[in-house]
Amino acid sequence: MADVSRVRRQLPTSPWLFAAPGLLVVGVFVLYPFASTVINSFTDRRTLIPGHFVGFANFRELWHDDMFWTGLRNSTLYILGVVPALVVLPLLLALLVQKNIPGITFFRSAFYTPVVASIVVVGLIWVWLLDERGLVNSLLETIGVGQIGFLSDQWLLLLSAMAVTVWKGLGYYMIIYLAALASVPCELHEAASVDGAGAVRRFFTVTVPAVRSTMVLVGALSSVAAFKVFSEVYLMAGPSGGPAGEDTTLVMLVQRTGTGLTGRVGYASALSVVVFVVTVALMLLVLRADRKEDA
């Protein structure tokens, strides 16, 4: 009844007036570009030259492009390096800041600071810290380890960039875990400790099972983000991707090939399609793993 009169009293156009700006923006700048990325991936379009349909030529070229495999390798390695650390470390951090001891809110906020900073600021801070003559190396020299070329070796560069990603993400996932931990009933911990379980034992038998779905969520969020890594590596290894471009990631390759006046839009779109497919596959994989463990 109420529903019928509501429809009559509001102008028929007003819902669309409300939704129009949002639909327009999302349509023109998200969904249309998405569709045109898929279409362009089958053309040889360039920035200034409209393309022709070329079938799967771009994808065949990808298959034989060493740089593509380098990018795919680095982006995949990034997942393997970053995700375990971002699933485990913020959980430990959340346990550390969970108890309301004096000053703890200060620590919680302080640990969140890297999340607030721009990735450019974070990247440049670490470029300076890991410089041959920067703070980390001068500390290493003081304790007698000697200089390490974090930013000149291909693998050390990638590892350093991963460390920076983890460093920047810690606080964010810590907050997510804190919310999850707050809903763990404390009776469980009490019962376990009455039974004589120590802190480590309780962590594995009470805490981990209770926040397991949050761990899956963090794993999903961080693996999708890790695969699309751009800024950290771009800033630390440089626009060309480190020594001989060996640190190039997939999104860096998209940016390098597709932009500027000579950009190969078609080829970069094919690369983008690979980014989509892997991203969606990752999400499905993680969700599936979650469901299986539930069953």
Partner: protein
């Protein structure tokens, strides 16, 4: 608000009894406290230390050795000389102003656009509502990194590449913000609006006078994340802006780093300028920052 939140636990612990207890009222042993604070201080050094080191570098004068081993953490003669130099090297204040313009525009469009669309999805009845909701859900799932090339060509077609409007437009009404607002409106009790409806309030009046004031918290979250997102963004402005006079702060810093990479004091001063406003914002409004993480994670 945030000040109260920050001090409350300290007061409670101090007032109730002299010894320190955890949230269940059990006493925490001294060795455990010592261990906890030691770990907290170590993590503090790792997370905040790099910012302090950057600040310290930016304050060191041209004669002071910034490469010394062991390192010196406090500048001997703190000076703002590097901040003056960075402004002489790149138009850093213009870049900061550009960033401010982009971020402010992003806040306004996101708050207005997502509140309107969110209200339409949550409260109004019309044909195609479910389709409209689906459109926003699909848009949220599209990874930005995968469509930047097409966004760039779209921007070229519109003649808006290399403008600040071009920087703002693609994210000016985020699909995720629309869905956040939708959820906020859905969580409001319907009765109040129904009462206003019976009293003859039309849809705009109900939206502006009743629904909107009840979701201020979510709007604050949207505003803060819109500001932070625009101020910190790197990949998109890097692609769309090519004229150095129109750079935002992050692109300007990248340019500064690429051109004057060996002048660490200069780059340090630039990064401090870029990060200080956000740290100040965070210090004042941290409640909303944390709330946004929770709401964003549930959605994402």
């Amino acid at each position: 608000m945030s000040v109260i939140e920050r001090t409350r636990p300290v007061q409670e612990a101090a007032v109730r009894e002299p010894r320190i207890t955890d949230e269940h009222g059990r006493r925490i042993r001294v060795w455990e406290l010592v261990l906890r604070y030691t770990l907290l201080l170590i993590v503090l050094a790792i997370t905040v230390g790099p910012f302090v080191w950057q600040l310290s570098t930016s304050l060191k004068g041209p004669t002071e050795d910034i490469y010394s081993s062991p390192p010196t953490f406090l500048p001997e003669h703190p000076t703002l000389h590097n901040y003056k130099r960075v402004a002489d090297t790149i138009p850093v204040w213009d870049y900061a102003f550009n960033s401010l313009k982009v971020a402010t525009a992003n806040v306004v469009t996101n708050c207005v656009g997502s509140a309107l669309a969110g209200y339409a999805l949550a409260r109004l009845r019309y044909r195609g509502r479910r389709v409209a909701t689906l459109v926003f859900i699909l848009a949220m799932l599209v990874p930005v990194e995968g469509i930047i090339i097409a966004q760039f060509t779209t921007m070229r077609e519109l003649g808006l590449n290399n403008t600040l409007i071009g920087v703002v437009l693609p994210g000016c009404i985020g699909a995720m913000n629309v869905l956040l607002m939708r959820n906020a409106f859905l969580n409001l009790p319907y009765e109040i609006e129904e009462a206003a409806f019976v009293d003859g309030a039309n849809v705009w009046q109900r939206f502006l006078r009743i629904a909107l004031p009840s979701v201020k918290g979510t709007i604050a979250v949207v505003a803060i994340f819109a500001f932070m997102g625009a101020w910190d963004d790197f990949l998109w402005p890097l692609i769309v802006l090519s004229d150095p006079s129109r750079f935002t702060l992050t692109i300007g810093l990248n340019y500064l780093h690429g051109t004057f990479a060996n002048d660490e004091r200069l780059v340090a001063a630039g990064t401090v300028i870029a990060v200080a406003p956000l740290i100040a914002l965070f210090a004042c409004l941290q409640r909303y920052f944390f709330r946004g993480v929770g709401e964003g994670a549930v959605k994402g």
